[in-house]
């Protein structure tokens, strides 16, 4: 028995190593790490638009660590998106209240939390009016004066109030803080577009596209811009790319239909209008699409 002891020990070590290899993740490749925490699971579920599941995961993360500001903030965003998709108005209102309550809880623990302040500002502006909301944006900017994200969010708020000049100034400040800020670049493009400076807007969007080439937000805006500049072929390139990424956006289909119609591609226009009408949740817009479709069909019948 004793003679075999070294061999048995070696065998045991080898066996242990073989078992430990996959368990310990020695052979794990980057990017395929298993999700272990509730927070990361929540992010995955959020990306999959499983709002209920994501909210549950974030709640578990908060239960594990009540001071987890990231989980609480993401929970609030998730609840807002769930409210946006809810069909029942009362349920949507309740979800929005919960979202705001989570942010308030977060601000009680961390009064200068940038993202919480920005989202409370947006929600307050929608609930109580722009003045009340702007106060929160000012607070966020006082706490984080060099934050490009905060400036960009404020610029977007100003754009919603039709204050394009102020928005452009805030976007410029955002880019002064961080020249590569995607949100700041898009906000600048939006502001320039609102001011009627199409070339400057196109320049800003091109820069944003260079930063994030697969952002449907920018692709759509770029397509709209090129269309308005009388360059439908260029617009069509952007809108097609955007549709590849986000094929269920009714606005994109509507724009693609407009572009196709202007180019005399009536059948393409009909196709996109159909998609827009089918995907559009707003009945009034869907009715407008129906009327446009009827007109397009008359045109098709006339050309047959």
């Amino acid at each position: 028995m004793k003679r075999n002891a070294p061999a048995m020990t070696a065998s045991a070590v080898l066996l242990g190593a073989a078992l430990a290899w996959p368990v310990g993740g020695c052979g794990r490749k980057e990017g395929v790490a298993p999700i272990r925490s509730h927070f990361n699971r929540g992010v995955k579920q959020f990306d999959d638009r499983q709002w209920d599941a994501a909210a549950a995961s974030y709640r578990r993360a908060i239960a594990d660590e009540p001071d987890d500001r990231r989980a609480r903030f993401n929970l609030s965003v998730t609840l807002e998106l769930a409210a946006r998709d809810a069909t029942d108005a009362a349920q949507a209102a309740a979800l929005r209240d919960q979202a705001l309550a989570e942010l308030m809880e977060l601000l009680e623990r961390h009064p200068d939390d940038e993202r919480a302040l920005l989202n409370v500002a947006a929600m307050t502006a929608e609930r109580e009016g722009p003045e009340a909301g702007e106060a929160y944006y000012q607070t966020a900017l006082q706490a984080h004066p060099r934050s490009a994200e905060a400036r960009a969010a404020y610029a977007n708020f100003l754009l919603r109030q039709d204050r394009a000049d102020d928005a452009a100034a805030q976007a410029e400040l955002a880019l002064a803080s961080d020249a590569g800020s995607f949100a700041g670049t898009v906000a600048l493009g939006d502001a320039k577009l609102r001011q009627g400076d199409l070339d400057a807007a196109a320049k800003a969007y091109a820069k944003a596209l260079a930063t994030a080439p697969d952002q449907p937000v920018v692709l759509r805006t770029m397509a709209q811009l090129e269309f308005e500049r009388g360059r439908p072929a260029e617009a069509q390139v952007h809108v097609r790319r955007a549709l590849l990424i986000d094929p269920e956006d009714p606005g994109l289909h509507r724009l693609a239909g407009q572009i196709a119609e202007q180019q005399g591609q009536t059948e393409q226009a009909v196709y996109h209008r159909w998609q827009a009408r089918d995907l559009e949740p707003d009945p009034e817009r869907a009715e407008q699409d129906r009327q446009t479709l009827a007109r397009l069909y008359e045109r098709l019948a006339a050309t047959d």
């Binding site: 790490a33 999700i35 272990r36 925490s37 927070f39 990361n40 992010v43 995955k44 959020f46 638009r49 990231r70 903030f73 993401n74 965003v77 998730t78 998106l81 946006r84 940038e114 993202r115 920005l118 989202n119 500002a121 947006a122 502006a125 909301g133 944006y137 994200e149 969010a153 404020y154 977007n156 708020f157 754009l159 919603r160 949100a183 898009v186 939006d190 952002q215 449907p216 937000v217 759509r220 990424i245 986000d246 094929p247 269920e248 956006d249 009909v270 159909w274 009408r277 089918d278 129906r290 479709l293 009827a294 069909y297 008359e298 019948a301």
Partner: protein, 361 residues
């Protein structure tokens, strides 16, 4: 000779009993017959298939879910293809296409039927390969064919006959076959839908279409009336013309009066033609307007039907590639991306959510 102690005998007995129990258990698990010899002489058959799937020797032969025999042999055989066999090969994409009468290799399955009560008609009986469950094994399913009142049990009839009777083997369709058969139908349906986009009726426009049809029917009835009247008028005109000719020839004094009558009839006829023509144009206008007006609904119905066909085909392909989704469900979404939420968050003045944390130890 060794003398065994009591202790050894008891231990040995337990070992033997345990071995016997395990043997019984193993036979039961493997569904094997413990009888060393059967008093039933089985009837032997063969059947040909172009594809036997996972069927192997020893698999069950079943009738109505009851085991009546087992597969005894599977071998390749060179035969002249029948029409069904050629069609089955072509459904699986045989290149070049197989033809009936062409020599080709098929699979011959030999099987025995040992159920003493089973009656079957070898001339009309057939077998086909069936799967007992989604994850189960293939079995050979038996269709006993047409039976007469005085038919004898097959085991009794063929007892002791060493020759195997040949039974028709029905080819399994499978998902490939289903898709191959459904493909042209789907294409035809799609083509029809494309070509007759505006002829699909929906609940919404049934009333409108019915109104059009009623008007068309009414116009048709009026057209028939008109044609009858025109024919009568034409006859009358011919008679009158002949009469007038005769009278003129005879120097009838009232020729002018007759000619005036003809002119009156002609004018009357023209008025009728105009009226019918106007009505027809009106009906066509209404029909055109209704079709144009309802075309979006018709096209939507078409689009939804086409989408349903697409999803049905997609499901068939998924099930073919992974039948377990029927048992465990399918949480694989359709290949359509969801709406982007980034635009809303960005442009509403909100901050983006946090991304995943690094979990590396």
């Amino acid at each position: 000779m060794n003398a065994y102690t009591k202790h050894e005998l008891v231990t040995g007995t337990f070992v033997v009993i345990a071995a016997a129990i395990f043997t019984l258990f193993a036979f039961n698990i493997l569904d094997l017959d413990l009888r060393l010899g059967s008093d039933v002489e089985p009837a032997r058959f063969t059947a040909e298939f172009t594809d036997v799937g996972s069927l192997t020797v020893g698999d069950k032969v079943v009738f109505g879910g009851t085991e009546v025999g087992k597969v005894t042999a599977i071998q390749i055989k060179l035969v002249e293809l029948g029409e069904d066999q050629a069609a089955a090969l072509n459904l699986r994409g045989s290149q070049p296409p197989a033809r009936a009468g062409q020599r080709a290799q098929v699979i011959e399955v030999g099987f025995e039927v040992d159920d003493p009560s089973l009656r079957l008609d070898p001339a009309t009986a057939s077998v086909f390969i069936s799967r007992t469950g989604l994850l189960g094994r293939d079995t050979l399913a038996l269709d006993p064919g047409r039976l007469t009142e005085d038919a004898q049990p097959i085991v009794e009839l063929l007892a002791g006959d060493p020759m195997a009777y040949s039974i028709s083997g029905q080819e399994r369709l499978g998902f490939d076959g289903l898709l191959a058969r459904a493909g042209p139908i789907l294409s035809a349906a799609q083509s029809t839908l494309d070509n007759f986009n505006d002829r699909v009726l929906t609940d919404d426009n049934t009333d409108s279409i019915r109104a059009i049809l009623t008007q068309v029917k009414s116009a048709t009835a009026r057209a028939e009336e008109f044609l009858t009247a025109a024919e009568e008028t034409s006859v009358a005109l011919r008679e009158l013309t002949g009469d007038v000719q005769t009278r003129i020839d005879q120097g009838w004094p009232r020729t002018r009066e007759a000619i005036e009558s003809i002119a009156e009839l002609a004018a009357n006829l023209e008025a009728q033609v105009q009226r019918i023509s106007d009505e027809a144009v009106e009906v066509l206008d209404v029909a055109e307007a209704m079709v144009n007006e309802n075309r979006p609904e018709l096209a939507e119905a078409t689009r939804r039907l086409r989408r349903t066909l697409f999803e049905a085909e997609l499901l068939a392909r998924k099930v073919r590639s992974n039948p377990s989704i029927l048992v465990f469900g399918d949480d694989d979404p359709l290949l359509d991306a969801e709406l982007s939420d980034e635009a809303w968050l960005l442009r509403s003045g909100r901050a983006q959510p946090y991304l995943q944390r690094d979990e590396r130890p």
